[in-house]
Amino acid sequence: MVQVHFTSHLRHVAPGGVVTAAGATIRGVLMDVSARHPALKTYILDDQDRLRVHIAVFLDNEHIRGPETMDHAVRPTSELYILQALSGG
């Protein structure tokens, strides 16, 4: 199971602490978490389930960027950090 960490700015809608989630891609993982925590979804994904522009994603210490971010493969042992980007504030 992937370990997912959310920025403290999402504490009121995101699960506290580290969350475990299933999925073969970043999209799959985020959909799995969102299914269990529906209030979180619109904070990180837009109306078309695209990653919001000013959300930063780090997977296993790598900053994942670009249009293919959501399709990036994850491993069962991966660690995923969902942060607010330093743009967009």
Binding site: H9, L10, R27, A39, T42, Y43, I44, D46, D47, Q48, D49, R50, R52, H54, I55, P67, M70, Q84, A85, G88, G89
Partner: protein, 361 residues
Amino acid sequence: MSNSLLISTRKGLMIYRRTPKGWKHKSTHFLGSPVSVALADAKGKTIIVALNLGHFGVKLHRSVDAGATWTELAPPQYPKVEGGEKDDKAPALKGIWALEWAGPDKPGALWCGTTPGGLFYSSNLGTTWALNDGLWTMPERQKWFGGGTEHPALHSICVDPRNSNHVAIAVSCGGARVTTDGGKTWNVGSQGMRAAFMPPDKQFDPDIQDAHMMVQCPAKPDVYWTQHHNGIFRSVDNLKSWHEITAPVSSFGFAVAVHPKDPNTAWFVPAKKDEDRYPVDGNVIVTRTKDGGKTFKVLKRGLPQGNAFDLVYRHGLAIDKTGKRLAMGSTTGSLWTTDNGGDAWKLVSSHLPPIYAVRFA
């Protein structure tokens, strides 16, 4: 007169109350978050607030106890399109620019204007929303474009007090449209508006007009006023036609207010056009006509004269039901009120965050 003001700012919603000692800050809500617009019912109990968070998108909150507690609502959502998760052009909510009650015969119902140009309707105080398909699928909408924003902004919603199925909307840049069947069909409502900045053959195209703000006179609903990018326009025939009006100092600006009982009286806050966007010569003024735009009076008593950079956005000027009390908030965080129709203004605060919208509750 109205004794409560909702101030939507870059750093939260501020509520001000009129006291015997003047306007006083009562409470702040959503501190630190940009509030694009707020709407309250006549008693000030129910308040709907739209946030536009820099990282996390557009959010909507509702209070039914005058702001003591808040409930987060699901914001209006554009329908998913096939493959939309990988299509940059598929629509998504970018901002809420207008919130209006749908009429006294539709309690709890709301209209919501958004970027990128969609109009939404809720029958249940914002709990759920539906995109208005009639306007969204209208072929002419493809001609709309952004003005000051990347996408078209639906900023003005006028519900006719005679018939709540008669609704007029204005878009920057998309002119004005009007429905008489509650939103099923939409007819052009911006014939006569002129966009001097467009190529000659397009200047009178009603579908590309950059209406900055449109208001309707409650007592004479056939009369509308619009502050347009190109100047001031007035319609006296229920949106069948518009005629252009020139005001002193500058006809450029964003805000307009119409007297609730007198369709000939309206207020504007001019600025230097058009990419400059600051008060002409650094003097904050309001222009007021009482004769339908034939003549104007420049109002400046109580307003800063010289080296002032206060710009008043389209929702930054509000009028109460008496037509004597107005409030005005600026991009540099100044808030003024008047109890005499603008003859004299009184500064409430000069150090608020940038103000997006003011509204009497």
